[in-house]
Amino acid sequence: MARPLNRISPFNVVSLALGLAFLYLPIVILVIYSFNASRLVTVWGGWSLRWYREFLHDRAMLDAAWMSLKVAAVSATSATLLGTLAAVALSRGERFKGRTLFSGMLYAPLVMPEVITGLSLLLLFVAVGAERGFWTVTIAHTTLTMCFVAVVVQSRLAPLDRSLEEAAMDLGCNPVQAFLRVTLPLIFPAIAAGWMLAFTLSLDDVVIASFTTGPGSATLPIRIYSEVRLGVKPEINAICTLVLALIAVVIIVASFASKLTSARGESAAPL
């Protein structure tokens, strides 16, 4: 059928191309300059791995990077467990008491300014006398990222045909078996994507981590942030590029996970 108005116009192409260039150019420039041999960030002195070597000898930065990876791995895992449970409850539990409050609590942190979330969690930790450090940051990140996991998993769970679960139960599965054997494999790509999103969000966060961490347990973004405030340093370019590379790997794995299921005839989830 002819769709005369649905054709793409030069205006569409130009706005798309400009938009994507705007999104990617700064990152590309950052990566290129991370291989700059010059001490001055803005003068090109030829290709070099100098700043990557510098980073590998920077004890404080390495400690912060390790701390960040630990926090991200633990919080992403617990956030994925909790977020998936929340998604199941919201899309399969139908009406239950306090459902509105529950979904409200799950959506609010997605848009809540981080300053408020961070401040409120810190006041809680102080009030109960919790020592701030690895665990407080991990709890804070779990709280924030489980909401993202819940949204991602729910977007996959909601359009899923329920007759599959019903068929499994007609064939003798109990609900838990039906979930584990039928539903879980089908939503697995979304769960994997949720974990990875949680991981990268945790790896990225400055504000909430600043509020909830204690002395001596700064995460990488906190360190980068305090360095950047003092001015641009070439070593930061290298660290940022390494973080970008790590995230790129995560995204590639995530898209593979969703390709796997589209090969099985499923449409890939958007996230």
Binding site: R3, P4, L5, N6, I8, N12, S15, L16, G19, F22, L23, P26, I27, I29, L30, V41, T42, L81, L82, G83, L85, L90, R92, G93, E94, G98, F102, M112, P113, E114, I116, L119, S120, L121, L123, T142, T143, R162, E165, E166, M169, D170, P175, F179, M196, L197, D204, V206, V207, F211, Y225, V228, N237, C240, V243, L244, I247, I251, S255, A268
Partner: protein, 304 residues
């Protein structure tokens, strides 16, 4: 009993753990914010004894003996710094959201008109920056915008300017950073509504003699309004409390409430006032949040 009903019960039980977690680590903390915002005695709680700001003097300490008080809130209203910060945050968020809409709409529109296969690729390309670090992307701009950065070099080489332009620590840099960081948040909901639209509606409009332009304004745009609303709120609310971007790109000029709150908390160590400021900010944001929630539910109902 149908299989669907059997499934619903264990599914409801699945809510217990995340429910308790969110109640404990999301809801309860606000209680503490409110309590500390209202009280001054809590200030003396060890081991995090926040030093009372010297400008408040000993009188404030004596007054602190009286438990609950609205003093912190009164300070917020009487101190120009706070009023200006709130105003400034709302203005910056409104202006940024308007710019984001202006830039994001054509991009989302272009995406929605691509062939199916290209749509998912374009979608992926927009999502990737959303996954990459906020901080790193802002930092990338500092590289470009600094005094002898790439932007000034290009402008000088093209003889568009005769001397390097100061970009960093300006409002323009801040707006640029905000628009850059939040663009995916604006594009995605817009794209979602535009892509869902039935092309038959456009055909009908053109069959009935509408020009492409009037088809856009009479059919496409009104139908995309839920996406416009979702995108605007998704951007507006976090921008109001934004801290990192104004701090890095606009420096101390920014004076947004997120920064003031941070300063009050970490530099002045005045937790009660910071808490009170957070409560006010929260109240300012609850209205749009509730609106967003209602819209989301209406959208969900529209789908099913």
């Amino acid at each position: 009993m149908s299989a669907r009903r059997i499934f619903a019960r264990p599914a409801r039980l699945a809510a217990i753990a995340p429910y308790l977690w969110m109640a404990l680590f999301f809801l309860v903390p606000f209680g503490f914010v409110l309590k500390i915002g209202l009280s001054q005695t809590a200030v003396a709680q060890p081991p995090y004894l926040p030093v009372f700001d010297l400008t408040q003097g000993a009188a404030a300490l004596k007054a602190a003996a009286a438990q609950l008080s609205l003093d912190n809130f009164r300070l917020l209203v009487s101190d120009n710094l706070y009023i200006l910060s709130y105003l400034r945050s709302l203005i910056v968020a409104a202006v940024s959201t308007a710019i984001l809409l202006g830039i994001g709409y054509p991009i989302a529109y272009g995406m929605a008109r691509l062939p199916r296969h290209w749509q998912s690729i374009a979608m992926m390309l927009v999502i990737v920056p959303f996954w990459t670090s906020f901080l790193i992307r802002i930092y990338a701009w500092i590289n470009i915008l600094q005094h002898d950065g790439l932007l000034n070099k290009i402008l000088l080489a093209l003889h568009l300017v005769s001397a390097p332009v100061v970009w960093l620590s300006t409002d323009s840099a801040m707006y640029l950073g905000i628009v850059y960081s939040y663009l995916p948040f604006m594009i995605l909901p817009l794209y979602a509504t535009l892509a869902r639209m039935d092309p038959a509606l456009l055909e009908a409009a053109s069959d009935l003699g509408a020009s492409p332009r009037s088809t856009f304004w009479l059919v496409t745009f009104p139908l995309s309004l839920p996406g416009v609303g979702a995108g605007a709120l998704l951007c507006f609310i976090p921008i109001v409390g934004e801290f990192v971007i104004p701090d890095l790109l606009a420096g101390s000029n920014a004076m947004m409430i997120g920064q003031t709150l941070w300063l009050e908390f970490f530099t002045n160590k005045d937790w009660p006032v910071a808490s009170a400021a957070a409560v006010v900010l929260l109240v300012l944001l609850v209205a749009p949040l509730a609106l967003y929630d209602r819209m989301q539910r209406r959208q969900l109902e529209g789908v099913s």
